[in-house]
Point group: C2
């Protein structure tokens, strides 16, 4: 297929003139317009999805801060998320501008600068933190944004968000373990300061209570999301006077740490102790047994984010979309 | 909102001087800079992206095509790479524009459009394929680019690249296993059509020959980079009349598939059969035993890429930089 550039060369005009012929024909002299139109027809050029945005010569760029990576804490589904976000943006003629920024309030000057210089027209936030300062700041500045993830511990959300129902997911995992005959189900979480962790903890707890299962002393707050902490947390659940027969972990990382601990003790994961994670990261299917986990609907999340950010109703009541994860059952909870 | 022209009139300087005040303040005399800055503040001027064209030192965007993700084939260190690439670009005042494109020649119209519309000023390529059509095309179009990874099976490289010495890395792993007492070392690779695989295979083979170790029948060409293929390949090396006592895998994914197979057979990885991977992905440290692997120097790679792309010598002899990976020794090859 011909490109915009080839059409421009064929008609002996600039790329911008071809763009104008497509989007603002009144700006061209009739003979120029006719020449360009003929070239478009001869070369069978079909403006692609991006050409729309040439109209105002301001393709809109959407800023996304790429999270920094620390040894123990990998963003295991970030590549899937970024591809999905890019693809969703491109269906609207937009692109993603990646940048780095310090965490928290220290990073706001980077967001401010990118927007003030009109390098980006809005932001997709992720890696949302408790009392995340970015959302309120962007709202105050009237800079368009949408968040993948809620801002925890706020009574009302400071803007539109898309999130995955972590509580619902952990309740789903708990009920699945119960259906498999488990009656003493522990929970591996993060510190109480994490709203995300408290949400998933509540999903496990509510499901246990509803099913008549014990919860006292069965929730471990791991210090951080590492394999070592998952192993340590699992050890404490297994060393208790009444050991657990199943573990719901709030992340694949913690679950795989727990799996390491089970292997170390010679306990058969899936038969002696059942185990579930959260994320369906690439890790989940490599380990033995493979990990039962909750899969986030990444494509749907990306589409919703772009839909909200580029939609007409950003100034209206904030849009809040809570999507259900899917339980992917594997050997760690269903042997055989 | 004030325009650049209004600011220039207010400060009694040229439009170019205002642009310099914003983008290259060191070029201005201090009193001029102060006067322009005051006008910018008084008029509450916010430079927009249209001003880019007025600048000589415009913010440059660098295009990077985000690879698509397929179930079995995760890009395990892509998040690290993207963060490093962004950070490196930002030290030069540039940003990364992410986009998606079909693989191979079908994607070239996307690259062409992005450049023709001046959305990006150059590209960083990765996920380089054998006979990758992008490099030659970009070179012909005189569009600046640099490649993370060589274009295999070409007699000369069609442009500048940074790559990691896969042959050197696999030779390093082989010598490490030899030093640990292993004398029958197998290799898990990819199909012969992959230049990268042939390179790493050669590193293993040359090291074995140099050390006086057998190679015949000890190289398995896995069909794809999946855990299942790694397990299948390891099984064939273990089922041979003379089974291997060690395996060099050309990727962490294959190595972890092999590890799963060892676990399944009750063979102690690290003691009975030693094992190495390639990438030091997040996977490598979660499994039990943890995986000995070759770590790519991601930050250095990113810095070199940006350095080459933004350097003055793109039109000169292509720059070729081959970096050594680091052997990270863990329990899969050195128990205890």
């Amino acid at each position: 297929m011909a490109t915009l550039k080839q059409v421009a060369a064929h008609a002996d005009v600039s790329v911008q003139t071809v763009s104008n012929a497509l989007n603002a024909p009144h700006r061209l002299r009739p003979d120029t317009l006719e020449r360009v139109t003929r070239s478009i027809e001869l070369l069978n050029y079909r403006p692609n999805r991006n050409a729309r945005s040439l109209r105002t010569s301001a393709v809109e760029l959407i800023g996304y801060c790429v999270p920094s990576w620390h040894g123990g804490q990998a963003h295991l589904v970030m590549d899937q998320f970024l591809h999905a976000l890019c693809a969703a943006a491109e269906t609207t003629g937009r692109h993603i501008l990646l940048f780095t920024a310090p965490a928290g309030a220290d990073g706001m000057s980077v967001y401010d600068d990118l927007h003030a210089r009109r390098l980006v027209d809005g932001f997709v936030l992720s890696q949302t933190e408790t009392h995340d300062p970015r959302h309120g700041w962007l709202k105050d500045q009237r800079i368009p944004f949408v968040s993948f993830g809620r801002v925890w511990k706020e009574s009302t959300q400071p803007g539109p968000y898309v999130d995955v129902d972590g509580a619902g997911g952990c309740a789903m995992a708990t009920r699945h373990l119960y259906d498999g005959g488990r009656r003493r189900i522990g929970f591996l979480g993060w510190p109480r300061s994490s709203g995300l962790a408290e949400d998933r903890l509540a999903g496990w707890r509510d499901a246990c209570v509803e099913l008549g299962l014990p919860v006292d002393g069965l929730a471990v707050h791991c210090v951080e999301d590492t394999f070592d902490e998952g192993a340590r947390g699992a050890a404490s659940l297994l060393d208790a006077p009444e050991p657990v027969d199943a573990i719901v972990a709030l992340s694949d990382v913690l679950a795989l740490g727990a799996l390491r601990e089970l292997n170390r003790r010679g306990l058969a994961a899936g038969t002696e102790v059942a185990l579930t994670g959260f994320d369906d990261s690439p890790l989940a299917s490599v380990v033995s047994p493979a990990l039962t986990t909750l899969r986030q609907p990444i494509d749907l999340i990306a589409n919703e984010l772009i839909d909200i950010l580029t939609g007409p109703d950003l100034s209206e009541e904030p849009v809040e979309r809570l999507l259900q994860p899917e339980l992917i059952v594997r050997g760690s909870s269903a042997p055989g």
